[in-house]
Each structure stands twice: as C-alpha cells, then as structure tokens.
Homo-oligomer: 420 residues x 2
C-alpha cells in the first residue's frame, strides 16, 4: 500500500489524558483514534494488526475443532434476568428513543416511556446457552465448541490505559458444551495450550494463573497474565517454573516456596490477556439446557467459556515491544511485512514496490514527498519489523538497504533475494 494513500498521519503529541504507552504510541502512529473515553476507532494500520491477531486466533480455534459464528450485541432483558445478571452494573442499557430533551410534561411520563429493553453484550453465555438449547437433545449432540470475534461493551466508570480498559472492545469468546465435568476438564486443557500458542505467536509470554470466578462461576478459573508495569492485576509467580496465582485468590506471599517446584514466588504487575472459565452447570441450569444420556435420563449440559480481548492483546504487545522511537512489532502481527522507503526521487522505487507486490509481500511504501528524516522517524514510530530503503546509494550496490526494527545492522539485499 502506498503511504500517500493512507489518510492517517503520524503525530508528535497526544492529549495529556493518554498516559499509557500503548495509547500514546498507537495514537501517534495512526493506529487508533480516540472517539470518547474508552472508545476507539481502529484506523487502517490498527485494523491490519487486528486482522493479523484475528487470523492467528481463528487458526488456533479452528485447529481445536471449534466453529465460528456471530451473535448479536443487543441482548434482551429476559436473557440476563434468567441468570440474575441484568442489574450487574457492568452492562450498558439500551432504550428506545425517549425524546428526553423535548419532554415538558410531568417527569412521570419519562419513566413510562423509558423502556430498558436490552443490554449491550459484555459476554454471551446466556445467548449461546439459549441457542444451544434449540439444537441439543442427546448425548450424541455433545461435545461441541463454538466461538465468535466481535465487539463487546462494558460500562466502565473509569476507562483507562488506552486499549487496556475500554467501554467498547473486540473480543474472541469461545464456548464449550459437554456431557460431564470430566469432558469439560479435558477440553479446558486443550484450550489452555491453544491459548499459550496464540500468545506465543503474538510474541508474548503469558503465565497460566489461578484466579477467582467473578460473575461467571463460583468455581476457580484461570487467567493468562503477561508481566507489565502498567497492568492492573497483581500476581505471584514462580521465578523457575512460572506457576502463578492472582493475588486476589493467593494465600502465598513474596519469597514463599513454589507449590510446584523448589522455586521462589515473586510479585509483579501484569495484564490479563485471556481467561478461561469452567462454568459447570450455572448457565445450563438457569436457562434449562439439558440432554438425554445413553439411558434416556435428562441431565444438565456442562459448559466452559474462554475469552481473549483483541484490542487488549494489541495494547499488551505495544507495552512490551517499544523503545523511545516508537513501536517494535513482532513480525507475526505487524501491519505490513515490510516498510519500503524511497529516499531519492527515482522511478526504481516504484518498480521495486511493484515487484514486491507481485511477489506477494505485504508492503507499506513510503512514496510521500517529505524529508528523509521524517520518513525514518515515521518508520521507527510505526514499527514494521523490516525496513527497506531505496536510495541512489543502495541502487548502485544493486539492491535495497534492509534494517530490522529491533537491530542497528543494515545490509544491502538484492531485489530478487527479497521474498515473503
């Protein structure tokens, strides 16, 4: 893509309210735009990163046999009332148009007109459970696993830290349905490893951390925590085997011996990039999701749910991979495979760009009529893993000058030797 066609621009400053590294760098680089508190637009560069993350997640979700679907954001009152989550405080209520500003009549009218019909889904346990009850009859229909990648909403009183805690965010949520607890536990382990693969492919080391159930279950759950100063969570983890517990549930303290090995527990801030919940029968009971076992007896379906926030994942990567010049994307999630910079006005850069496109390389081509210094600074800020400079000097040597974003080494590589 030609950078001149990208309507966004890098910027030197951001509003004083954006104190987190991820919000600052992603805003300055033209990845995101803040519309309101906790509400962001993914600009074209940011959307490409989200797509890279989605693809990694889809590949790993499909690999464990789950199928993609898409549930609505508007969730009717009766769904949430069935599980006593209608008034949990976390959801945005949606009303029909009330013409509030125009109301002159007694205020009572307002209450009559006010019909809170929906909540904006911040999770979809109720919805998927009701859907499942339409299709599940027998043990032969189980287990099954289904996921979606979709916008979620939370009525956060104090959204903060850029994409880490927002009011509207993109999430992958997976739900699993089983005949019994044992089958759930098996799949739970399968998801655990799929999640660890996802985070690893995104360049993150995530610690599998024992945690509390929150609104979702009365049982234990697990979180995937990435160590980071900006993180809102506090965990204790073993310096040796990485066994970890969220401080909310941990009885251990810094310096204690690890439960799993002879390592010592350390304390740190961390970001929760994913979580997995063994829901048990909480939702199947509330919403009457049953199956007939081999003997014809009716039983409750046993469920699990598993989430990854995509915007938060993107933010966490930026928090971990940056320097004073900008972002340093791991190549697996960079918006483009290569940033091609043309320094002198020559037609060769255009030709090289065309050649690379034909080879299937995803190239961001800085064809703008701006100074060399600005091009270099923007390339560092945007942070695409591989930078390729076309200049008279490089052309004399028969190629382009390649520099990786995380290295100072530059080398001339012949065009023909550049592949995907």
């Amino acid at each position: 893509m030609r950078q001149s066609k990208l309507f966004t621009k890098t910027q030197k400053t951001v509003s004083a309210g954006e104190t987190s590294k991820n919000a600052q760098l992603l805003t300055r680089g033209g990845f995101i735009y803040k519309n309101s508190a906790g509400i962001y637009t993914y600009l074209p560069l940011g959307w490409r990163v989200i797509e890279k993350l989605s693809n990694i997640i889809r590949e790993e979700m499909n690999a464990i046999g789950s199928v993609e679907m898409f549930m609505p954001a508007l969730v009717s009152k009766e769904y949430l009332q069935a599980t006593d989550r209608w008034d949990k405080g976390v959801g945005f209520k949606v009303v029909s148009q009330t013409d509030l500003d125009k109301l002159q009549a007694p205020i009572r009218q307002l209450a009559d007109k006010l019909q809170e019909e929906y909540v904006l889904g911040w999770t979809h346990e109720e919805v998927i459970t009701v859907i499942a009850s339409n299709y599940v009859n027998s043990y032969r229909d189980l287990p099954f696993f289904t996921y979606q990648i979709q916008t979620k909403f939370r009525n956060e009183k104090r959204p903060k830290s850029g994409l880490l805690r927002g009011r509207e965010f993109m999430m992958k949520d997976l739900y699993s349905f089983h005949t019994d607890q044992k089958d759930l536990e098996c799949f739970y382990e399968v998801v655990k490893f799929a999640y660890l693969r996802i985070f690893e492919r995104c360049g993150l080391e995530a610690l599998y951390t024992l945690a509390a159930g929150g609104d979702f279950t009365e049982d234990y759950t697990h979180e995937f925590q990435v160590l980071a100063e900006v993180g809102e969570d506090s965990i204790l983890y073993c310096n040796k085997c990485k066994y970890a517990e969220n401080k909310e549930v941990s009885k251990l303290k810094t310096g204690d011996k690890c439960k799993e090995c002879n390592g010592k527990m350390q304390s740190a801030n961390s970001i929760e990039v994913g979580n997995i919940f063994p829901l048990g029968t909480k939702y199947s009971k509330a919403l009457n999701l049953k199956y007939k076992d081999e003997d014809g007896n009716e039983k409750q379906v046993v469920m699990g749910s598993y989430g990854i926030g995509l915007g938060r994942l993107m933010a966490t990567i930026v928090e971990k991979y940056n320097d004073d010049k900008g972002i340093i994307w791991p190549s697996s999630v960079a918006p483009f495979g290569m940033h091609l910079l043309s320094l002198d006005k020559n037609k060769d850069a255009d030709k090289i760009y065309q050649t690379l496109i034909e080879k299937g390389v995803q190239v961001l081509y800085d064809d703008r009529d701006v100074s060399v210094g600005e091009k270099f600074a923007d390339a560092d800020l945007i942070g695409i893993s591989m930078r390729a400079v076309v200049s008279e000097k490089s052309l004399k040597k028969g190629g382009v000058e390649i520099k990786m974003r995380d290295s100072d080494k530059e080398e001339i590589i012949k065009i023909d030797d550049l592949s995907k």
Copy 2:
C-alpha cells in the same frame, strides 16, 4: 467440515411469525437463529456465507483504492447533535446503568440518573468526519476513501421480513472525501460500477435507481434495487435499458416512455441492496472539516457515503434462489464449495473427504448416522451448489456422483478430477 461437528440441525418448521422466505429457509437450514424481534445470530453456516460476501465486497472496495478501518458502535451524543440527528428516532439510545427496578425515591431521581450518553451507530458519517478532520489539512490530503464492515443498529418499530429489516444488522459503509463536487461525481461513478460488480458476483441483477436523500442529504441519491415480490420498495424501471426510479421520487407511471431509450416503464416491488449518497458539504460544514486549496484558501471538504447491508444481501439472494426443497446458493456465496454425502457406511468416504481437504476444496461432509432420505433432504435445504454422493454404486464406477443443486443431471466423476 464434518457435519456431525456442526452443532446446528436443520428443522422442518419455523415459528409462525417468520413469514418471509429468507427467514424460513435460513432458519430451517441452520444459518440463522432469531434471538429477539429483528435480532439474529449468524450460526456457523450463515457466518460462512457472510464471510463469502465480505470477501467479495473487500476485494471490490480495495480495488477502487479504499482502505478498511473499524469505527465504534457507541457514538457520543455530541457527534449526532452537531448534525441534528440525535433525536431522529432511528437510533437506540444507550444509558449508564440506572437500576430502574430498585428505585424507591422520587421519580425525579430517575431523570437525574438517566444519562443518555450514546446512540448505537446506524451509520457513521459524523464519526468519520470528525476523524478525518484530525488528518486533513491540505488539498494534497485529498481525495481518500475508507470503509468498514461492521454491526449497525436501528430502532425499527416493526422489524420484519427476516434479515431484510432488522434492529441489528451487518453493513459495509464506505466514505469518500474530495476537494470538489466534480471529483466526488467521478468517484461516485467508480463506486456505482464497483457495486454493480459486487451484486453480479453475488448472483443478483441490481437496478441503479434514482431515489430520495432521506436523512443523509438534500440532494438526489441512488439505490441498487433487486426485483422481488417481498421487497418494501416500489420502483418504475424500463423493460429495455433498465433505467429505474424509486416511486417515492418518480414522476413517471407504468406504461410511460423511458427517459433513456424507447422502452416502456414497468412497475415492481424491489429490495434495496445498496445505496450511494452524494453528501456534498452537509457533514463537513456541521463538523468543520476543511482543507486549504492550492492558493491557501480554506474550503469545505466534499463527501460521499455508500452502503451495502450484508445480511440483507444474504436474504435477497435466498429470496431469489430457492425452490420448494430449500435454498439454491450461487456457488460464489455458498457456505461450502461442495456437500459430500456418504450413503453407505464405508471408509472410502472418509478418505475422499481427506483427499478433497488436501486439495483445498471447502467441503461440508455429511458423516452423520442418519437415513439416506434425511441426508438428501438436508442437502437440498442447505443448498450448497455442488452435491457429491459416495455410495457403493458410485465407488464401483470409480468415483462420486455429482449433482448440481440447480440441475437434475447426475454424473459420476473420478476423485482425481475433482478440483476447487
């Protein structure tokens, strides 16, 4: 994909409220699930069709030089107030949690607590205009074109006709930004042809129809109308050159001579599958989007917006392509390239399935332990273009029995000859 792993099932009946063909067949086939009035889930089969439509739309949008992005659904009050669309009646208002049920104190408290902060975006002109004003300074920054594929919301009082008129729906919206009206008009023509290509690739003949501006503009606009009895629109169109006008704006009547040729105008119901709006400076004026021209004079940016509803597109295809047995998807948008049915219990079907997967064919493999009749009936209902039957008979002849959904002809084809 193995059909046994698809958690949905076909069903013989649907609720009496679903009177439209698209809702009936898509529900019975397991493509969609109705959560509430006008609110549907895309089940795995339906989601695959949406992905096919998205890919066609993305290819055509990228081909005309527009870039993808993603804007939030929560749109703050001030955006819509600037263009006088906050109280237009079409939007769902979103409030913070009000704990309405718990209120015992004077009703006045309710009003104080009630803060309508957002509307759920039913379109994004305001949002994109504000974003653009952050990046546009000079004529050199124009033109540019950007689009998103995303969920939209409309507070429809009477949602009806399945996916044709819902409260929550998926839409592609494209916005264009220009220095002047002439440049907009040029691009408007470019989009017109891109849209006609999109509909053609989806198997639909869409008529480019003169229409009214609605809330969007005071100018003329154009709609893309597909003739269909169930459609809510009424148009007049030429039986010869297909020139068309929406009856809302047309001064012509049935039998009149066409404006463009010597054909005659006919009357018909139709479904609006897309629309394009020359917005002019309505939004750039209201939200102060300006640029400096070559002489340094400040001018308003000229805008256009262009929409396609993906769910509605899917519904329209079903309305046009069905028979008494079920859906007949055009192959370009079918959820799978092939429906493989194993009639006898033999291991060869499994092997053939594996071979096809390795060849890159998208196969739905009916490996279920159900009757032959049920498999054939489900295949007809689901409506994948190509059906391949593996039976002892077909294996004796060295292949699978191929039948296209829209034909009665069956023929044996060797496995090696089956390609994408």
